[in-house]
């Protein structure tokens, strides 16, 4: 038994982190925040060359067929760099669903995903939370209704839309009867949108997709937790670096126990959460029975510690941490947004309880 990242995984982590540090410094993120969609297709093509886009695509469809733990390593790196990208929907959630569903359409799209030429968004919020009368239904062969907080849909070519717990439709974003409106959140680095369907014709409808949808959501939860944990990592690194350099009362502030303890508390929460993330991601592929419960736990847990770390890191920075100029808020807001996606902490915990028979089934 070996509870650690492999040599290959450490190399992957190093490669992606190095690439992002070089190609997407925070100044670039700042430029992207005002774009209609922050997900930059040129950057996505470059990430495709690194194998990032096809990390979860089976080898038969030209992907690298790696595990969710490998994807989590990439997600953590993206969070650490606050990089806007459609990784969550197009590289993790959509390939998980399409690979599970199979068939000629799915295989063709998987090839496109791996090359980075096809970006696929996911509209699945209504599977676990219906707000504002949202929901998409079939009317004959056409789709009608709306989906909220769809992931990575604005700049996508295709969207997977959950119609109900057992049916998934694939729709081209440029099809007639599809309107996409970005729903801006506090987090400018992630694309969330409302999709409105007014008689749109889907490219394909997958019946009996309940299990595929569940797997897609669980994979998304683990990847989103990894992304938020990467944000936490960066916020801790920035706070520690600042505490070593900022002087007050003729001393660096990191020499004061009050500040020192804030830094210690952050890292004390971060490290065990990282261990839980590794296990949850590994379990997704190796221990499918445990995987749904762990996916809920890891995302809710990271949401909780993330809120605390985001706050404490900002406080270590003092007034400058509260400014736009300091950039720290990009990570603060990305953590804040993650809490509202793919199920909030309370509903995820309730699902974890139900999955192990500790709560009445919903």
């Amino acid at each position: 038994m070996d509870f650690a990242l492999s040599e290959d995984q450490l190399l992957l982590e190093q490669t992606v982190r190095g690439f992002l540090a070089d190609r997407v410094p925070i100044e670039r993120v700042r430029e992207l925040r005002d774009a209609a969609c922050p997900n930059d297709r040129t950057l996505w093509s470059e990430l495709a060359e690194l194998g990032v886009c096809g990390i979860r695509v089976p080898e038969a469809q030209d992907g690298s067929g790696l595990g969710l733990l490998d994807a989590a390593i990439v997600a953590q790196a993206l969070g650490r760099a606050a990089t806007p990208s459609p990784f969550l929907a197009s590289a993790v959630m959509a390939p998980t669903a399409l690979a599970a569903l199979g068939g000629a359409d799915a295989e063709r799209w998987l090839v496109g995903i791996a090359s980075g030429e096809l970006v696929v968004g996911v509209a699945a919020t209504e599977l676990f939370s219906v707000r504002e009368g949202a929901g998409v239904r079939r009317d004959g062969g056409a789709l009608r209704g709306k989906a909220l907080m769809a992931l990575d849909a604005c700049g996508a070519d295709l969207v997977l839309v959950a119609l109900d717990a057992g049916t998934l439709a694939a729709v081209r974003t440029d099809a007639d009867g599809v309107a996409i409106e970005r729903l801006r959140t506090v987090d400018a680095t992630r694309c969330t949108a409302e999709l409105v369907f007014d008689g749109a014709s889907p490219e394909a409808v997958f019946e009996g997709a309940g299990a595929a949808c569940s797997r897609m959501l669980d994979a998304g939860r683990v990847a989103l937790a990894a992304d938020a944990l990467g944000c936490c990592e960066s916020m801790i690194e920035q706070a520690v670096a600042y505490a070593k350099q900022r002087k007050q009362f003729d001393r660096v502030i990191g020499s004061f126990q009050a500040v020192k303890h804030m830094c210690a508390e952050m890292v004390a929460e971060f490290e065990p959460a990282r261990s839980l993330l590794w296990y949850a991601a590994h379990a997704f592929d190796a221990l499918p029975e445990e995987a749904p419960r762990l996916a809920c736990h890891v995302l809710s847990h990271v949401s909780e510690i993330g809120r605390e770390i985001a706050s404490v890191s900002t406080q270590v920075h003092g007034g400058i941490g509260w400014t736009d100029e300091q950039n720290l808020h990009f990570w603060f807001k990305r953590i804040a947004n993650a809490r509202h996606l793919l199920g909030g902490p309370e509903s995820l915990r309730e699902r974890a309880a139900t999955l192990q028979g500790l709560a009445p089934a919903a």
Partner: protein, 393 residues
């Protein structure tokens, strides 16, 4: 990541389950609980099957297996599920034995390790003094060489189980002229030596089993020179090995406590409804499960590092801090779910689980303080782990 899911481990798990279906300790086995023969019989049986002292060499009274992370995890899981103690939670096995394995002479290892693991010899730890708490290295208990003996004088405090222990591992000042960290030695002292007086110190939790707490006074206590571990003046370095074991071993069993808490919430009812049906309490239970799972898998990560001889860095320094607080928080939920009956104590009518959760709450608080307070832990994490400037000392 390799969680070693193969038939060999399934067979091992079956073997552990069969053992647990057939065997249970005859009575409570903690220091100060029940009678010693039940403890020794149970621990000896565990060693014979390799469920305790598993990786300690046979020559020293262990089972002599190679370290294997998954076997450890399986044993912990199965014993936790069965609610059966896998060994003795006491300072001899958890702190003295690792120290002797690292620093003891061959004769010391052969003499002390076996009886300690079998529970025949209980140990207490003579570290803290009234004037040397967080600043442990300022300790003043002295030992002066005289012929083949050291002569010890001084006072120790916060000495758990000193009233039951046959032996004490003791830090003493042997080099009064040296700098404070360089003047300390590590001695093994029989508690029945003339000149030792143990005075119980009543704690907030009362006198409950292994929580016994004492002051120990040493007046011209003669200790054979052969009971010195390592060299004179090396005691601080040697004690730090032990403290590292304490930091990584304290409360390693968060999952077992969580399972006990979940069992309580299934059985405890208010107005005829199980507490588990209360969404507010259930949410707290689930939040604690995530923390317990984090610490469980973090322990697997730390154990992997230790088996590979790699330093886990800051990730290893946070274990004691996090586990102690987690245990305290689990006890807090248990007390809350018991509602009106939660404060019952001292064998009161309607008391649950013999007062375990109130005692555990207070005991956990003691552990947050003992073995280096939470604040000292945070200093260590920040200074050694994150490279922030050291406190002036």
């Amino acid at each position: 990541m390799d969680l070693g899911i193969d038939a060999r481990y399934d067979a091992f798990r079956d073997e552990v389950r069969r053992f647990l279906a057939e065997h249970r300790p005859a009575g409570p086995i903690g220091p100060g609980e029940g009678d010693a023969s039940a403890r020794v019989a149970w621990l000896s049986l565990l060693i014979e099957h390799g469920y305790w002292a598993r990786t300690i060499p046979e020559a020293y009274g262990g089972y002599g297996a190679e370290p294997d992370l998954l076997e450890t995890v399986i044993m912990d899981e199965e014993f936790n599920t069965a609610g059966v103690p896998r060994g003795l939670s006491a300072q001899g096995p958890s702190m003295l034995v690792p120290t002797l394995l690292a620093h003891g002479t061959e004769a010391q290892k052969r003499h002390w390790i076996g009886p300690t693991m079998r529970g025949e010899i209980l140990w207490c730890q003579g570290y803290s003094e009234p004037g040397a708490g967080s600043d442990l290295a300022s300790l003043q208990t002295s030992a002066v060489e005289d012929g083949d003996d050291f002569v010890v004088n001084g006072q120790k405090i916060w000495t758990s189980t000193a009233d039951q222990a046959q032996m004490c591992f003791l830090l003493v000042r042997t080099e009064p002229g040296a700098k404070k960290h360089a003047g300390i030695s590590y001695l093994l002292v029989p508690m029945d030596t003339p000149g030792i007086e143990v005075r119980p110190l009543r704690t907030m939790s009362g006198d409950i089993g292994e929580n016994s707490f004492n002051q120990v006074f040493f007046s011209d206590v003669r200790v054979p020179r052969s009971n010195l571990v390592g060299q004179r003046g090396e005691g601080w370095k040697i004690a730090n090995t032990t403290l590292e074991h304490e930091r990584s071993s304290l409360n390693a069993n968060a999952e077992g406590t969580w399972l006990r808490l979940a069992r309580l919430m299934k059985s405890e009812t208010v107005n005829g409804v199980p507490l588990l049906a209360s969404p507010v309490h259930r949410d707290r239970l689930m939040r604690l499960q995530a923390r317990a799972l984090s610490m469980k898998h973090h322990a697997m990560r730390m154990l992997t590092c230790s088996l590979k001889g790699e330093s886990p860095g800051v990730a290893g320094l946070i274990v004691k801090l996090q586990n102690c607080q987690l245990n305290f928080d689990m006890a807090a939920l248990a007390l809350d779910v018991m509602g009106e009956l939660g404060a019952l104590y001292d064998h009161a009518k309607y008391e649950r689980e013999r007062g375990f959760w109130q005692a555990h709450s207070m005991f956990s608080l003691g552990l947050i303080i003992g073995g280096g307070t939470a604040q000292i832990q945070k200093n260590i994490i920040a200074e050694r782990g994150l490279g922030l400037p050291r406190e002036p000392r």
